[in-house]
């Protein structure tokens, strides 16, 4: 077996049993990156030397019997997480060669548990996008391709496209990602891997470049549900440096994966049956519910009546917060600075931000500025907040009847890099099944459940109660077991 084919859990076991060393594991992944990254463009920065150094140190720790839960496991870090001493770009030109002097809490937690960082992975600029085509460092390619149209290069989804593509192509055993409207779950679905956006507040946001503070949440992507559970256990936890971080205990998520679904009530929201959803996605959804029934769960149709307002609400709240969060990129203290004419401060701002931000980021800054403007605030931002509360209430009421909700993860499989690029609204529709969990702050897991007619992966989403990731993992693992998803992408390391 090639070292890059291990699951994360399998790798930990192999390391523990001495079947493989962290150096071997790390080198195999670095070789894979060297071979495939020029095409996939998943990594923005590869920290090969540092990774091997960490791997050697890990092997030494393991020899001394002091290995942490993730000791020696090579991971990829989304380039939105600040990493001390390693350039952090957020996929934007405006951060220039910004090298943070601090480590984000989530990545620090992974280092604490012994993880090896292979490098920083690509993303949509400032995590704004659903196709990883908005990155200043070029688009990421999905390692999967259509059976009947193998030459069309597909998007990996976004914004965590680099994370998902790297993990799917076996260029990392797992990766950190972030999810503001679906940025973990949609790329995970497009790349045939698992990914969870935990409950808002479960992972600290400290040291993660902010997109929309009330929606952003870090989470893992990995090739199995259990691998996600293992990673989340390390990433999560209360952080006094983040005022929105939740002071709740972090349970053993991996153990929850084996709980089974017997006796659970699973909701199927009727409002998620959208016109125009491909029949194979509808069919997969029904199949997923059947698998759960087969394992002893009860399925119930539920109603989340405000669902249709979720996308417009999201596209008011997220840009509003982003327009303010991104004001700090002004060329004054760090990152890109474009010289001003006549030492004019306003000119410095305009030139720096014009040159530094890409079109999608500019679009969202303008939308956000507009909806917060005097005279429009009540009609847009305030109304969106009210609807957000109603969406949350929909879920509260639903969770009085059910233990988890299952929906499709995306309205389609991965699409071509040149498709859907002309109309931003079409692109925004990618988030239709995922934004609700962000608006309500709930955990959402995407699990690979099947292939479409073109041989592309499709995912199902499991949404749970706040801070009940355990049930989400249990349901996700049950779907995963039944789906027995074994398909692999054409582009992958070790082939």
């Amino acid at each position: 077996m090639h070292p890059t084919d291990f699951s994360l859990r399998g790798a930990i076991e192999a390391l523990n049993e001495g079947l493989v060393s962290s150096v071997e594991l790390t080198q195999a992944h670095l070789d894979g990156i060297a071979a495939l990254n020029p095409r996939l463009n998943a990594y923005v920065t590869v920290t090969a030397e540092q990774a091997l150094e960490q791997a050697r140190a890990s092997d030494a720790r393991r020899k001394e019997g002091v290995a942490g839960p993730l000791d020696g496991v090579p991971l990829a870090i989304k380039d939105l997480f600040c990493t001390a001493g390693t350039r952090t770009t957020a996929g934007s030109r405006i951060l220039g060669n910004f090298v943070p002097p601090y480590e984000s809490t989530v990545s620090a937690n992974l280092l604490r548990d012994g993880a090896v960082f292979l490098g920083k992975v690509n993303l949509d600029e400032f995590a704004m996008g659903s196709s990883n085509t908005t990155s200043a460092f070029g688009p990421v390619e999905n390692p999967w391709s259509r059976k009947n149209d193998p030459d069309t290069r597909l998007v990996p989804g976004g914004s965590s496209g680099g994370s998902a593509a790297a993990v799917a192509a076996r260029l990392a055993l797992g990766a950190t990602a972030t999810d503001t409207g679906g940025s973990i779950r949609q790329p995970a679905a497009f790349c045939g891997i698992a990914g969870i956006k935990p409950t808002y507040g479960r992972c600290s946001r400290w040291g993660i470049v902010a997109f929309a503070s009330s929606l952003d949440q870090a989470g893992p992507v990995a090739r199995t549900v259990e691998d996600c559970a293992i990673l989340l256990k390390s990433m999560a936890g209360f952080d006094p440096k983040d005022s929105t971080s939740a002071d709740v205990a972090v349970p053993d998520f991996a153990a929850a994966c084996a709980r089974g679904v017997k006796g659970l009530r699973i909701g199927m929201p009727k409002e998620y049956r959208l016109e125009g959803t491909p029949p194979e996605i509808e069919a997969l959804w029904e199949q997923g519910l059947q698998w759960l029934r087969d394992q002893g769960a009860e399925t119930v149709e539920i109603s989340l009546p405000h669902t249709k307002y979720a996308l417009p609400t999201y596209y008011i709240v997220a840009p509003a917060e982003a327009s303010s969060n991104l004001a700090r990129y002004d060329g004054v203290r760090f990152g890109l600075r474009e010289a001003a004419r006549d030492s004019d401060l306003r000119d410095l701002y305009e030139r720096t931000r014009a040159a530094g931000f890409g079109p999608e980021v500019k679009r969202r800054i303008m939308i956000g500025t507009y909806v917060l403007s005097a005279g429009y605030y009540d009609a847009y931002y305030l109304k969106a907040q009210k609807i957000r509360a109603l969406i949350k209430r929909d879920f509260d009421q639903a969770f009085e009847k059910v233990d988890a909700i299952v929906t499709p993860a995306t309205p389609s499989a991965a699409f071509g890099m040149d498709e859907r690029q002309d109309d931003p609204v079409t692109m925004y529709l990618n988030d239709v099944f995922t934004v609700t969990a962000n608006l309500a702050g709930l955990p959402g897991l995407s699990v690979p459940a099947g292939l479409d007619a073109q041989g592309l992966p499709l995912g199902l989403q499991v949404i749970g109660r706040a801070f009940d990731e355990e049930t989400v993992f249990a349901v996700g693992a049950a779907i995963e077991t039944a789906a027995d998803f074994r398909a692999v992408p054409g582009l992958r390391a070790g082939v």
């Binding site: 997480f81 040291g207 005022s243 700090r328 030492s343 917060l372």
Partner: protein, 482 residues
């Protein structure tokens, strides 16, 4: 009697409201652990949060919240157990985040009141609209380099209380009295040091004018006035400007102005049309600020005595309202007075503090915080008068010697042999000598020129180098003149 300004067309009333920015006394900033000391090297007290670095998040400083609540309690104001931080968005080089975090819509402190004292002895209540917490910005330095601006972020993120008054003031004097009283309360509470020259306290002055009996006319805001005297000058200057505009048939436009302290006039800074759209919205990095009534009660129980209460106590101790007012203006003065008055006659203590001590402070250019005579020494001096060791005259002499040498009154009395003579026999012997030497005057006295009594007393004191006990000298003169 209401204050008016006389225009060409008749009298005008002034309407003033103040927004005071008071720097919270705390070791750390409002949302970061960086220090707040004044006068540190530029950019030496800046955390990554204060500099707006990517991924940095604000965490509220509990002590700053406590200080705001204490201040609210001191202003007899409503304490809001639920308040919220909003973002005020605008671009400026010394505003690293691109927004200021401020309690725009839901302040921590609501309505309160301050009673101000006016020169004619009357008092007036000025309403407090609200008090909220917000971050200070950094400082832009434009005079350090011919073509560059420098930024100092030491102040960036420092906690400010913005204290907004009702438009209740009607004269420059009232505005001055309000600011004086507010500063006094803040300093008593220890929630702001009130150092206006260090920028710890600055005022935005809202001024309008009107005819008697009218509703409010358009107001202008004079920004960032940094002394009580300038506030009073700015009120008058801006009111006079507006009167002129109205009287010439013009209209006062709502705008932000600056006070030119050199020329004593206000200048336009930006008009309403140029006003920023600050795009306020709740800061998503901060949950609402929720405090508990029990915590507020705890802060209330540990509040120090406030100026009004202290003044009332002094009056109860027998001081005149004026003396009580003067002694409580600065808490250091009150502390000095209390040390002197402890266990002694309060009125005598007040007279010495307000008379000889204040004069000595003026003369030596010192301050009550570093007084020329220690309060304990002044107390001992009063004791020496009380037990008859020193006469009033000798006491003044000892006091002056204390100012010069800083030594204790006991040491000075011993050293200079200033002890008062209270031996009646010794005094009588001297009086006898004085009478002997002035037989002609004695004869005049006896023939009815009783004014000469003082002459004999004076001659006796002179002969004793002022050390004779005045009462005993009087008695002896009376006795021997028979």
């Amino acid at each position: 009697m209401s204050f008016t300004l006389e225009g060409r067309t008749g009298p005008w009333e002034i309407v003033v409201g103040l927004e005071v920015h008071a720097q919270v006394t705390s070791r750390a900033k409002l949302f970061s652990g960086a220090a707040t000391a004044f006068g540190a090297e530029p950019n030496s007290q800046v955390s990554f949060v204060d500099a707006g670095f990517p991924g940095m998040l604000p965490v509220i400083n509990r002590e700053c919240v406590a200080q705001a609540v204490r201040t609210g309690l001191g202003l007899k104001a409503q304490i809001n157990l639920w308040s919220r931080f909003d973002r005020k968005n605008y671009f400026y080089a010394d505003l690293p985040q691109g927004y200021q975090i401020s309690q725009y819509a839901h302040p921590i402190v609501g309505e309160g009141a301050i009673e101000i004292e006016l020169a004619d002895g009357s008092t007036k209540t000025v309403g407090i609209t609200r008090l909220h917490l917000e971050q200070d910005a950094g400082k832009s330095l434009h005079d350090q380099h011919p073509s560059k601006s420098y930024i100092d972020l030491n102040r960036s993120g420092v906690a400010l209380m913005e204290i907004v008054s009702e438009p209740d003031m009607r004269s420059p004097e009232e505005a001055g009295a309000y600011l004086t009283k507010l500063r006094q309360i803040l300093r008593y509470l220890g929630t702001c040091d009130g150092n206006m020259d260090e920028g710890s306290m600055r005022a935005d002055v809202n001024v309008s004018v009107r005819r008697a009996g009218e509703g409010y006319r358009t107001r202008c805001e004079v920004k960032n006035v940094n002394s009580i005297r300038f506030v009073m000058q700015a009120v008058e200057a801006e009111a006079r400007r507006q009167i002129e505009v109205w009287e010439e048939g013009g209209t006062v436009e709502q705008e932000t102005r600056l006070f030119d302290t050199a020329r004593g006039i206000t200048r336009s800074m930006r008009s309403k049309e140029d006003a920023h759209d600050y795009r306020y919205f709740p800061d998503p990095d901060l949950p609402p600020l929720v405090i508990e009534q029990g915590w507020v009660e705890g802060l209330k129980a540990s509040l120090p005595e406030l100026p009004d209460e202290r003044r009332a106590r002094y009056v109860a101790m027998g001081l005149s309202p004026y003396d009580a007012h003067v002694l409580t203006l600065e808490k250091e003065t009150a502390a000095y007075f209390e040390t002197v008055a402890r266990g002694r006659d309060a009125k005598v203590a007040a007279n010495w503090v307000m008379g000889d001590l204040f004069a000595a402070i003026n003369r030596t250019r010192t301050s009550i915080a570093e007084p020329p005579v220690k309060a304990e020494y002044l107390g001992v001096l009063l004791d020496l008068m009380q037990d008859g060791t020193l006469s009033g005259k000798l006491a003044k002499e000892v006091f002056e010697a204390m100012v010069e040498t800083g030594r204790s009154p006991g040491a000075i009395v011993e050293e200079r042999g200033l002890r008062q003579v209270t031996d009646a026999g010794a005094i009588e012997r001297i009086v006898a000598q004085v009478l002997e030497a002035n037989l002609d005057k004695v004869a005049e006295y006896k023939s009815g020129k009783e004014k000469l009594f003082g002459f004999f007393v004076g001659q006796t004191m002179k002969a004793m180098q002022g050390k004779g006990n005045p009462a005993l000298v009087n008695e002896a003169v009376k006795k021997l003149l028979g």
